[in-house]
Assembly symmetry: C2
Homo-oligomer: 213 residues x 2
Amino acid sequence: MRISELSRVSGVPTATIKYYLREKLLPDGRLTSATQAQYDQAHVDRLRLIRALLGPGGLSVARARRVLEAVDDAGTPTMELLGIAHCALVGPAAPDRDLGRADGLLRRWGWSIDEQDRDGRAALLDALEAIDAAGFDLPDGAVDGYARAMLEVATMELDHLPDDSPEAAVRYVVLGTVLNEPLILALRRLAEKHVTSRRFAPEGGGGAGPAAR
Amino acid sequence: MRISELSRVSGVPTATIKYYLREKLLPDGRLTSATQAQYDQAHVDRLRLIRALLGPGGLSVARARRVLEAVDDAGTPTMELLGIAHCALVGPAAPDRDLGRADGLLRRWGWSIDEQDRDGRAALLDALEAIDAAGFDLPDGAVDGYARAMLEVATMELDHLPDDSPEAAVRYVVLGTVLNEPLILALRRLAEKHVTSRRFAPEGGGGAGPAAR
């Protein structure tokens, strides 16, 4: 198909497609004359991935390019590919940052996270420090409880990892990580409402739990 | 203490404290002369809460004020208070939006969410539609799996709900909902790395799972 058709099928404006071509996010089409190129279904799929990375993913063009290069490089081992995908999604940790508190938690849970991989531990620390700064006391055991629930979630997610191609695996991890975050948070808030309504339903409203006041 | 001392203790600039006073987020101090007022520990605590709501919480001043009014109003039943706190954290749903897909899921899980309460279901729908728009196919059962994990999380969270005062309960829900989201997401990403490294560790690296390639 020509670029106008690619634009129609993908819903991405032609000018934007040209920008992605210039930025090397989208591979060139097959040249059929000096000024015309042909595109195929692979370009449509790639465009959807690019839109997901730059849109919901919130990645910069440079970060998206790094992820796409990893997807396209057939020589990268799966674990490294998935690591690149993950790391593109978080900002880098300051090199002199003391990550001891995060390390202590990871040791307690027996989670094996590469020593070199500081970004994820820094994100955990950021979250804990924001909670401290707000003067919010996490109940005892809450962090462990969250960790347990997230280990279940991650195990389920990795059970579904496509094993037909590295491209499919990375796409699954990047999109699943980023796109499912709002889903998980929306479900958490609904679950909180459900549990709240069960516990604090007004008298006669069918609530099983004790009324709080 | 005087406003300069309140600023020092809380770490909030005096000009910002005066802004919160004008916006009725922070209650007035006790007037000791025509131009001087005294503040106490309650003001320090309230400032921390305001900073949490406007900072990590990302609430507008108007939304923060609504939450704080609910906290201060001793006559509001707990369930309504917690509902107000929750609703302040999500944008309102368009009134004509078809929420049938979300309703279907909630029915399947037996979650009781008030029919009038459209915001949470709209957030669920937004998340699902963003996933669809990106062309990402959620594996069968993934939404059910997330819902199960989040029900566990919410049950644990509500188990820890302080029952000494409505103020404490609302503060717990608002701060816990907002501040713990980055914590939950950071833990999920770390858990994914841990599970990935267990499954895809290089030969001889001690990994138990099969190598993907």
